[in-house]
Each structure stands twice: as structure tokens, then as C-alpha cells.
Amino acid sequence: MRLRAVRPNPAGLAIVHEPGSATLRRPRAEESLDPIELERFERTVLPHMRAAYNLARWLARSDHDAEDVVQEACLRAFRFFGGFRGGDAKAWLLTIVRNTSYSAWHRVGTAGTTVPLDEDTPDVEDGAPGPEDLLLQKASGQEVREALDALPVEFREVVVLRELEGLSYKEIAEVTQLPIGTVMSRLARARARLRRELRERLQRGPS
């Protein structure tokens, strides 16, 4: 049997990337619900729903919004599934979850939760690693959660993808659509900021 070259992803995620582009042009469902395709989708993509919800929840910081985002993202993912031919299904789904979250904010005009980032300026004074950091291990789950929630979303997402989802730099680069070098510097800065947030919380003591 000869392998055929698989055509490159035609629609891919391009439509999802357009901010606010919620109208999806590709026909779905009733005209052509392909049971084999649906089964393949459910087998390939739905095992990553837990990760999808976790990311959506950290981005949205609200249970209700996270749920809506996950549902919408799964429907979008199914529409674009024709362009997905193997590879990393988890990173693929998380990319769509992230884009869906950002477009949802765009629609409701809460994009102001993001801050402009200067990738080149390391703010090491923020939270350079230090020996006292061993105390961080004593932080309660709630303290860590609040500290992470307090980070700007660009920082929060890389920490969640790396530490909670265990993604590699390359996968994070795929999900966030950033070059690997930027992922590395952003992750370093995110950890520094998180360290500072945590230290402040620990110094303040239990509220």
C-alpha cells in the first residue's frame, strides 16, 4: 500500500485565531454528521476534556464561563477536525480552548485583563529565586491559587500549561502561538512574579 501525502490543514485554526470571529463558515452536523468522524473525534480529542476545563477555568476564573468556553471549544474543534491529522491532540484542543477564551473576552469587552508585556526586560527583582523559597512549599493550596490567579493572564497561562498540564516548551509554543524563546522567557518571568506574589502572601500571614 502506498502512503498518500496528507494535504495540509486547510482551515485549521486560522479561523479561530481571528479575534471575535465566532461565525463559523464550515457546515456542520445535520447535513453531514459523519459517525465515523464523530467517533474518531470523541476517541482522539475528548480524553483531553479534563485539561480543557482546567485551562479554561484558570483563564476565565469563573466556573460558569469556563464551562461555556469548553463546550464552545469542543464544538469548534469538531468543526475543524477535518484539518487535524494526527499529532498532539491535547495541545491542539488546548489551542482552541485558549482562542475561544480570548474571543469570548473580546466579545464581552473584557480584554483589559491582559497587560502589555515587554518580553526583553527581565524583571528579576520581581521574585528571584532565593533560599527562603523552601518556605513556599508550606503555602496552602488556597494561597497558591490566589497568587496564581493574581498573575496577568499571559503569565498565568504558561504556568498552568507547564506546571499543571505538564506541557513541553514546544507544546506551550503551539498552544500560545509564540516562539519557543518567548515561551522560555515568559515562563521565567511568570515564575518570578508568582514567587513574589506568594512571598507577599506568606509574609502577610493567614488572612
Binding site: 502512503l3 496528507v6 513556599l136
Partner: protein, 249 residues
């Protein structure tokens, strides 16, 4: 915090398990001598263990997945965003038994016949990745007696490692990779300037021999002694075939 040694720039990548074998060893040597970097590493670990608190992982509400499955099967009247339309949970819940039956029927349908193509995509991606990340080999050696034992304990099978320098395909080294949801051996050969990845893993399906090209890379696959072999390279197909023949000798 930083000791100024150029090696220390890679400390965070080392901490994240993103360095190749050679640089990792370099880093471990450095860490054994540098207290500043060791302290930084301990601090990174402390932060990670704080983040490992189970309550940080947000679990979705019960039934979310089944609601998604339901929605996937629903005719969509409205192609606009569903995010703010709202979902009629109770109506959906009432229809769940029907949905479950349909879902069961769908699962019983045989798989899409594209597994071979999925694997070929994955193998080619692994090949491209190995070149992009400059992570062609974990163990760099042209000596098969060095390469073969390196895999011991890292996988649940032991690959046959041949050096084909005499045939014009010198062995460059080996690497661990991950194909089709399991660990695989990648043996790296070279023909002139063309690196060749030969992926090997135990046969689990009845896929046949074949060849072709995927995204501009040539691929030859075969079975031998209970193992699947996939050779991938930008090398021309006749020469890649020759390597495959030599490996099957």
C-alpha cells in the same frame, strides 16, 4: 542568583527537562560544583511542589463531557457563538438515555481506516522535531555496542542495532522517542548530509510494508522479527529503500 557561568543560562530548561542528554550531563557537572545554581534549582523545585497542590487543578462539573457529546450530535440551527446562548441542561438530561444508546451504537462502528496515515504523520513529525530541537541523538555513537545497551532499562524491548557504515549509511546514534502513544527507539543514520531516523517499536497491529512521501519527507516502513520499522528522511526514496533493505538483511 546567577553564577555567571554560561552553563547557568540553561538551568531553567534543565529544571523543565528540556535539555538534551549532553547538555544535561554538562549541567549536572556544573551543579555539583556551583552552590548558587544548586540553590536556584532548589527554589524552582520548591515553587513546583507548591503548585502541585491537588486543589489547584480545576475539575470540570459532572456531566460536562456527556453534555458536550450531546451537543456534538445536535443539529445546529445557529452557527453563531454558543457561549452566551445558554444551554438547556434539563432538556438535555432528559434525553440522555437516547443519546447513550446512540453513542454506544457509534462506538461499535469500526475505526476509520487511516491508522497507518496517522502513524506516518506522527513519525514524520518526530523526525522534523528531532531536527528542529537539535536533539537528534541522546546517545551519540557510531558504535552499535554503545548504542544498544544505552536503551536498556529505558524501554520494555531491545532493538536490533546495526551499523551500516560499510554500506554508506553510518550510524550516528540513538534516541528515545514517543510514537503512537508508546515509547519507541529512534536510530539515527546519515547518508551524506541527510539524517535518517529509523523508528522501531514492537508490532501491535497488522500494518503492512509500504513507502511513500509525507510533507516532503520520504518514508519506508516494514516489519521484522515482531517489530515495526519506519525510516524517515529527506533522502531520495531509492537510497532510503536501500537502507531499509540493508537493515532487513
Amino acid at each position: 542568583m546567577s553564577c555567571g557561568d554560561p552553563v547557568s543560562r540553561h538551568l531553567e530548561a534543565y529544571f523543565d527537562g528540556e535539555l538534551d542528554l549532553v547538555r544535561s550531563l554538562e549541567m549536572e557537572r556544573h551543579l555539583s560544583e556551583c552552590e548558587a545554581c544548586s540553590a536556584t534549582l532548589r527554589s524552582h523545585r520548591a515553587l513546583r511542589s507548591a503548585l502541585a497542590h491537588p486543589s489547584l487543578y480545576h475539575e470540570g462539573p459532572n456531566g460536562l463531557e456527556s453534555r458536550v457529546r450531546t451537543e456534538l450530535r445536535k443539529p445546529s440551527k445557529d452557527t453563531k457563538s454558543v457561549a452566551r446562548v445558554g444551554w438547556r441542561w434539563r432538556a438535555i438530561a432528559a434525553s440522555l438515555p437516547v443519546i447513550a444508546t446512540v453513542a454506544w451504537a457509534l462506538v461499535a462502528i469500526p475505526r476509520a481506516p487511516s491508522d497507518e496515515q496517522l502513524v506516518s504523520q506522527e513519525v514524520v513529525s518526530a523526525h522534523v522535531r528531532s531536527l528542529m530541537a537539535e536533539h537528534l541523538t541522546d546517545v551519540a555513537s557510531s558504535d552499535r555496542h554503545t548504542v544498544k545497551p544505552w536503551f536498556n532499562g529505558k524501554l520494555d524491548f531491545s532493538p536490533e542495532v546495526k551499523d551500516l557504515a560499510g554500506d554508506g549509511y553510518p550510524l550516528v546514534g540513538g534516541r528515545l522517542d514517543y510514537i503512537g502513544g508508546r515509547g519507541a527507539v529512534a536510530l539515527v543514520y546519515r547518508r551524506g548530509n541527510h539524517p535518517i531516523n529509523v523508528f522501531i517499536w514492537p508490532e501491535t497491529d497488522a500494518g503492512g510494508d509500504g513507502e511513500g512521501s509525507v510533507r516532503g519527507y520520504n518514508v519506508v516502513r516494514w516489519r521484522r522479527a515482531g517489530m515495526r520499522y519506519w525510516a524517515v528522511s529527506d533522502l531520495n526514496l531509492p537510497e532510503l529503500r536501500e537502507l531499509a533493505r540493508d537493515l532487513q538483511r
